[in-house]
C-alpha cells in the first residue's frame, strides 16, 4: 500500500515540471481572450457592426474568402491527389514550394505578389489593358488570400489521400471504373473528412489574411484591413466589434474542423 502511494507520488512529481511550464503557456494564451472579451461591455458592438463601413468589410471578407477558398480547393485538391499518388523527379521541390507560403511572412508574400502582378509588371499591365486590375481590387484580395491560404487545403487533402490504401483504387479500376471514376467514387469520398478540414482551414486563413492583402489591395477593405484602419483612427476600442466578428468566425471554423477533421484511417485490417 505504502509503495503504491509512493509510486503515485513519484509519478506525479515527474510530471510536475512539465505541467507547470505547460500551464504557464495555457494561461498566457487564455489571458488575451479574456481581456479582449472583457472589453466588449465598453463598446457598443452591435451598433458598430451595423455601420455601413463594418458591413462592407464583413461582406467583402465573406465574398473574397469564399472565392479564394473555391479557387484553392478546385486547383489544390487535384494537386494533393497527384502528390499523394505519384512519385516523379522534383517532387520534393514541389512539396517544398507548396508549403513555403505557410512559413513565409505574409508581408513578404505581398511584396512578392506585387513584383509579379503589380500594375507596372508585364502581367499586371496586360491585365490592366484588358480592364482587369490585379491590385487594389477584389481580384487583388483574392490573389493574396489564395497565395497564403491554399497550402492548407493541399497539405491536408494530401494527407487524406495518402491514408487511402491504393489497392482500393486498383480494385475499383478492375471493377470497371476509369481513373477519374475511381477518384470520384473511392478517393474523394474516403478523403472527404480531410478535404473538408483543409477547406475550412483555408477559409479561416483567408478570412484572417492581413499582411499580404494590405500590400496588394488595401482597398476595398476586408475585415482585417478595416480593423487596422479602425485601430489607427480610434484606438483599441474601435477594433473590438469587427475583431469579435472575426473571432466568432474562427471559433465556428475550429468547431467544424474538430468535427470533420480527422484524417480517416481507411483500410481496416
Amino acid at each position: 500500500m505504502s509503495t503504491h502511494t509512493r509510486t503515485t507520488w513519484i509519478a506525479r512529481s515527474t510530471l510536475l515540471v512539465p505541467a507547470l511550464l505547460g500551464g504557464l503557456l495555457l494561461v498566457y494564451v487564455a489571458v488575451p481572450f479574456v481581456a479582449f472579451l472583457a472589453r466588449t461591455g465598453t463598446a457598443d458592438v452591435l451598433a458598430r457592426l451595423a455601420e455601413p463601413q463594418a458591413q462592407v468589410a464583413v461582406r467583402n471578407s465573406l465574398l473574397t474568402a469564399t472565392t479564394s477558398t473555391i479557387v484553392a480547393t478546385v486547383l489544390g485538391v487535384p494537386l494533393a491527389y497527384v502528390l499523394a499518388r505519384r512519385s516523379f523527379p522534383g517532387k520534393r521541390l514541389l512539396e517544398g514550394l507548396i508549403i513555403l507560403p505557410l512559413v513565409l511572412p505574409p508581408v513578404v508574400a505581398g511584396a512578392m505578389l506585387l513584383t509579379a502582378f503589380g500594375r507596372f509588371t508585364p502581367i499586371g499591365s496586360i491585365a490592366y489593358a484588358v480592364g482587369i486590375e490585379l491590385t487594389g481590387s477584389f481580384i487583388g484580395i483574392v490573389l493574396a488570400q489564395t497565395f497564403v491560404a491554399a497550402p492548407f487545403v493541399v497539405v491536408t487533402a494530401r494527407a487524406g489521400f495518402g491514408a487511402i490504401d491504393d489497392r482500393l483504387e486498383r480494385a475499383s479500376r478492375s471493377l470497371g471504373y476509369s481513373a477519374l471514376g475511381t477518384f470520384r467514387h473511392v478517393a474523394l469520398p474516403l478523403a472527404r473528412g480531410a478535404i473538408l478540414a483543409g477547406v475550412t482551414l483555408t477559409f479561416a486563413r483567408a478570412m484572417g489574411e492581413f499582411g499580404a492583402t494590405y500590400m496588394v489591395a488595401s482597398n476595398p477593405r476586408t475585415m482585417p484591413t478595416r480593423i487596422w484602419v479602425d485601430f489607427i483612427n480610434g484606438g483599441i476600442d474601435a477594433v473590438v466589434p469587427v475583431g469579435l466578428a472575426l473571432l466568432a468566425v474562427t471559433l465556428a471554423v475550429l468547431a467544424v474542423v474538430q468535427r470533420v477533421g480527422r484524417v480517416p484511417t481507411v483500410i481496416e485490417r
Partner: protein, 355 residues
C-alpha cells in the same frame, strides 16, 4: 482458350522479376499459380489485371491482345491478398459497384446483388458495413463483388493467406464450390502447395521469376519436371551419385541402368520422396540395393517419424517412416524401389536452389 500469357517479362529498375513467362488458361479451368514468396506470382497477376505494365510480352484474353488496355477495360475480376472492400459502402453497395460499368440495368443490379450474396451465403449482411464483418465474411463479399459483373477471368491473389487454418480450409472448399457453380475461368495464386493441389485442374509452378513446371497436380507431383518442382511440390531428399562400381552404391547403377543404360556419373541429380524410402532392419537379409549410414536424428511428427541419415557415401538423406527403433548414432540402411527415383539432368540451373 480464355487467357494466354506470352513471354511475359518484367523488370523493376535493374532487377529482373519475370522472365519469359508463358502459360494458358482454358475456359472454365482453375489454374493454380504456385511458387514461393518473391517468385513473381503477384507481379504476374498484376500484369494480367493491368495494374502492372510489363516490360515485354503479351497478354491475350479471348484471342484479343489486351496488353495495352487499362484495367477497367479488361473484364478481369480480382481478389487481392489484403481486403479491399470500400469502407464507405455497405456490403450490397460493394457487390453492386462493378455492375453499372458492366452495363447492368438498375433492376438487374439489385437482382444480381441478391444472387451473388446468396452464392456466398451473406444475404443477411446486405446492409452491413464492411467494418462489421469477420475476416472470412469480408473475403466472401470480395469474391461476390469480383464475380458479380461476370468477368471473363477471375484472379485470386493469395486470398486466404491472411486467415487462420480452420477458416482457410473452409473457405477453400467454398471457393471450389463457387468456381464449380459459376464455371468462371480462374487463376488462383498461392504459395501453399496443399491449397494449389486441392483446388487446381492444372498447376503452373514458378521459381525465381520463371516457370519451373506446368501440368496436372498429380502428374506434376509424380513426375516433376525439375528438381525445384520435386522439392516444392511435396518433399524430396537428394541421393548421392558417384561413378559406377563404387561399393555400397549399387542403387544408382540399377536405377540408371533402368534409365536407358547410361552410366551413373556426374551431371545428374537423383531425388527421392522421403516417404518412398524404406528403413531396413539389421536382421533382414542384405537387400539388393541399399544406402548405409549413421542416424543423425529422429523426429516424432505425430503421424509419422522423420529419420535423417548421414550417408557413408556422403550427403544426408531424409526417410519418413511409421515405426522406428533407431536412435541417433545407430547405423542404419535403407532402400528404395528403383521406379520411385526422380532423375534429372543437371541443367544449367535457372530455377534457383534445389532445396
Amino acid at each position: 482458350m480464355t487467357l494466354e500469357v506470352v513471354d511475359l517479362t518484367h523488370r523493376y529498375g535493374d532487377e529482373l522479376v519475370l522472365e519469359d513467362i508463358s502459360f494458358e488458361v482454358e475456359t472454365g479451368e482453375i489454374i493454380g499459380l504456385l511458387g514461393p514468396s518473391g517468385c513473381g506470382k503477384t507481379t504476374t497477376v498484376q500484369a494480367i489485371a493491368g495494374h502492372v505494365n510489363p516490360t515485354a510480352g503479351r497478354i491475350h484474353l479471348r484471342g484479343e491482345d489486351i496488353t495495352a488496355d487499362p484495367p477497367e477495360r479488361r473484364d478481369i475480376g480480382v481478389v487481392f491478398q489484403e481486403p479491399t472492400l470500400f469502407p464507405h459502402m455497405t456490403v450490397g453497395e460493394n457487390v453492386a459497384y462493378g455492375l453499372r460499368p458492366a452495363g447492368f440495368d438498375p433492376d438487374e443490379r439489385a437482382a444480381t446483388v441478391d444472387r451473388y450474396l446468396e452464392l456466398v451465403s451473406l444475404s443477411e449482411q446486405r446492409e452491413a458495413m464492411p467494418a462489421a464483418l469477420s475476416g472470412g465474411q469480408k473475403r466472401r463479399v470480395e469474391l461476390a463483388r469480383a464475380l458479380a459483373p461476370q468477368p471473363d477471368v477471375l484472379l485470386l491473389d493469395e486470398p486466404l493467406s491472411a486467415l487462420d487454418r480452420g477458416l482457410r480450409d473452409q473457405l477453400r472448399e467454398e471457393i471450389a464450390r463457387i468456381q464449380r457453380e459459376t464455371g468462371v475461368t480462374t487463376l488462383y495464386v498461392t504459395h501453399d502447395q496443399e491449397t494449389a493441389m486441392a483446388l487446381s485442374d492444372r498447376l503452373v509452378v514458378m521459381a525465381d521469376g520463371a516457370i519451373a513446371g506446368v501440368g496436372e497436380p498429380r502428374k506434376l507431383y509424380e513426375s516433376p519436371s525439375t528438381p525445384f518442382v520435386a522439392s516444392f511440390l511435396g518433399r524430396s531428399t537428394r541421393l548421392p551419385l558417384t561413378p559406377p562400381g563404387d561399393p555400397g552404391l549399387t542403387l544408382e547403377s540399377r536405377a540408371l541402368a533402368g534409365d536407358g543404360g547410361t552410366p551413373a556419373d556426374t551431371g545428374r541429380i537423383c531425388l527421392a520422396r522421403p516417404s518412398n524410402l524404406t528403413l531396413l532392419d539389421s536382421e533382414q537379409p542384405k537387400a539388393e540395393y541399399t544406402l548405409a549410414g549413421v542416424v543423425e536424428r529422429v523426429t516424432d511428427l505425430g503421424t509419422r517419424y522423420e529419420v535423417v541419415l548421414t550417408l557413408d557415401a556422403g550427403g544426408k538423406l531424409t526417410v519418413e517412416t511409421q515405426r522406428v527403433q533407431l536412435e541417433s548414432g545407430d547405423r542404419a540402411r535403407c532402400t528404395i524401389d528403383g521406379t520411385d527415383l526422380l532423375l534429372f539432368e543437371e541443367l544449367p540451373e535457372r530455377v534457383g536452389p534445389v532445396y
